[in-house]
């Protein structure tokens, strides 16, 4: 993202994806799915794994084909490649994990339009070799996953009193469940608070 992509080391790629250029709280990408699938930890985890794999594989493929791809159609090619991988994930889930496929509903297909995937293809993979692109895609996906899982854990515990489906001691009994947490607005509150915390830490890091 900083124009010095060609010389990034593996460590830099990993740290940038997870923290310095984190797709959620730095780039504010992929917010739609952040709000939609984070009311239950299990669903979120599957969504995150799918997204990380799709981002990594699409970035590697885009990078491998960049020398032959005409500049005029490069975005069409990127969307085609992303859609290709997403449909594979969707078909595999439907065939081998039907319960999960039913509970994620249309959101697997909507990975195609997740800005993170195309963002990494265009910003990084288009000007880097396949292996660094793969890593960049994977760790941006993981950076997204970490934040989503934190949001999902907060929402599920406060809204339903369970974590990954298991009732927690205090929250499932005495805690007055916050229904708003499992509704879409709950995600806005949690996301905003998390952005605030993460960015405050980022500011302190810069000063030090």
């Amino acid at each position: 993202m900083n124009g010095q992509t060609a010389t990034k080391t593996t460590n830099q790629i990993i740290l940038d994806g997870l923290w310095h250029d984190n797709p959620i709280f730095r780039q504010i990408l992929g917010i739609c799915s952040t709000l939609a699938v984070t009311n239950n930890v299990i669903n979120t985890a599957v969504m995150c794994i799918s997204l990380s794999l799709v981002t990594a594989l699409s970035a590697a493929t885009v990078s491998a084909m960049k020398d032959w791809t005409p500049k005029t159609v490069r975005m069409m090619v990127q969307v085609l490649i992303i859609a290709f991988y997403v449909i594979i994930v969707d078909i595999l889930l439907r065939a081998y994990w039907p319960d999960m496929s039913r509970s994620l509903g249309p959101y697997v297909g909507l990975i195609i339009t997740n800005c993170i995937v195309m963002g990494r293809c265009e910003a990084f993979a288009q000007s880097n070799r396949p292996w660094p692109s793969f890593l960049d895609g994977l760790f941006n996906g993981l950076g997204y996953s970490v934040i989503l899982l934190v949001i999902a854990a907060i929402r599920e515990v406060m809204g339903m009193g369970t974590l990954a489906g298991y009732p927690l001691p205090y929250f499932s009994t005495q805690w007055d469940k916050w229904v708003i947490m499992v509704m879409p607005p709950g995600a806005f509150f949690v996301l905003a608070c998390l952005l605030w915390v993460c960015r405050s830490i980022g500011v302190k890091e810069k000063k030090a």
């Binding site: 032959w68 159609v73 290709f84 078909i91 081998y96 499992v182 509704m183």
Partner: protein, 202 residues
């Protein structure tokens, strides 16, 4: 050559053809599996509405379903449940629009045509923690043993404060889901009743 307009068009067509071919191949390979998943989900629901049946694996579910259930002759009618050849009830499939997406399930009806033996939802995407709680035992277990009322509203799902012994208690905070569920259940039951009466008195 790379920047030629024709090359870009040919390149795009070629790439699309390759990707589509691979995806169609994968879809063909998994098609049977996906169809059987949907079928098993339905069969499991049909078995679940009769409390006496206890089965675990997909293969067992399919075996019992094929042995004990007789498929209806027309859409909107119920499956006959005949364990060991003796009629023991009806499994009526229902589906319709919930709050977010379709709700699909099966309701079990006793041989008196009135008593509900059980209900099972095998597909729903209601709000987690609210409408989605229709799949939790505290809600669906209420149906077993209830009797259909006469008229166009055989099943009544009412707010807990207003519900009598004959009614199903709705889920607080899931009014939309409960209202739609009641509507789609009553449509299915009413249609089934009319068809059954039409065939009983020709």
């Amino acid at each position: 050559m790379k920047e030629s307009r024709y090359f870009a068009v040919v390149y795009m067509f070629g790439l699309t053809a390759i990707c589509s071919t691979l995806l169609i191949g994968l879809a063909r390979l998994t098609d049977a599996k996906i169809k059987s998943n949907a079928q098993i989900a339905f069969e499991r629901a049909a078995l679940a509405v009769f409390p006496a049946v206890q089965v675990q694996s997909d293969a067992e579910v399919h075996a019992v379903f094929m042995k004990d259930f007789v498929a209806p002759k027309a859409a909107g009618e119920a499956y006959e449940y005949r364990p060991g050849g003796q009629l023991a009830g009806y499994a009526l499939p229902f589906e319709g629009q919930g709050f977010w997406a379709a709700i699909r399930g099966v309701i079990g009806i006793g041989t008196d045509f009135r008593t509900i033996t059980g209900i099972w939802f095998y597909e729903q995407a209601e709000t987690p923690g609210l409408g989605a709680r229709i799949v939790e035992p505290f809600f669906y277990e209420q149906f077993a043993g209830k009797q259909f009322a006469d008229g166009s509203r055989p099943i009544r799902i009412r707010p807990p404060a207003e519900a009598t012994q004959k009614d199903i208690q709705a889920i607080t905070g899931a009014t939309q889901t409960c209202t739609r569920l009641e509507k789609l259940l009553n449509e299915a039951v009413t249609q089934w009743r009319q068809k059954r009466e039409a065939t009983a008195q020709p």
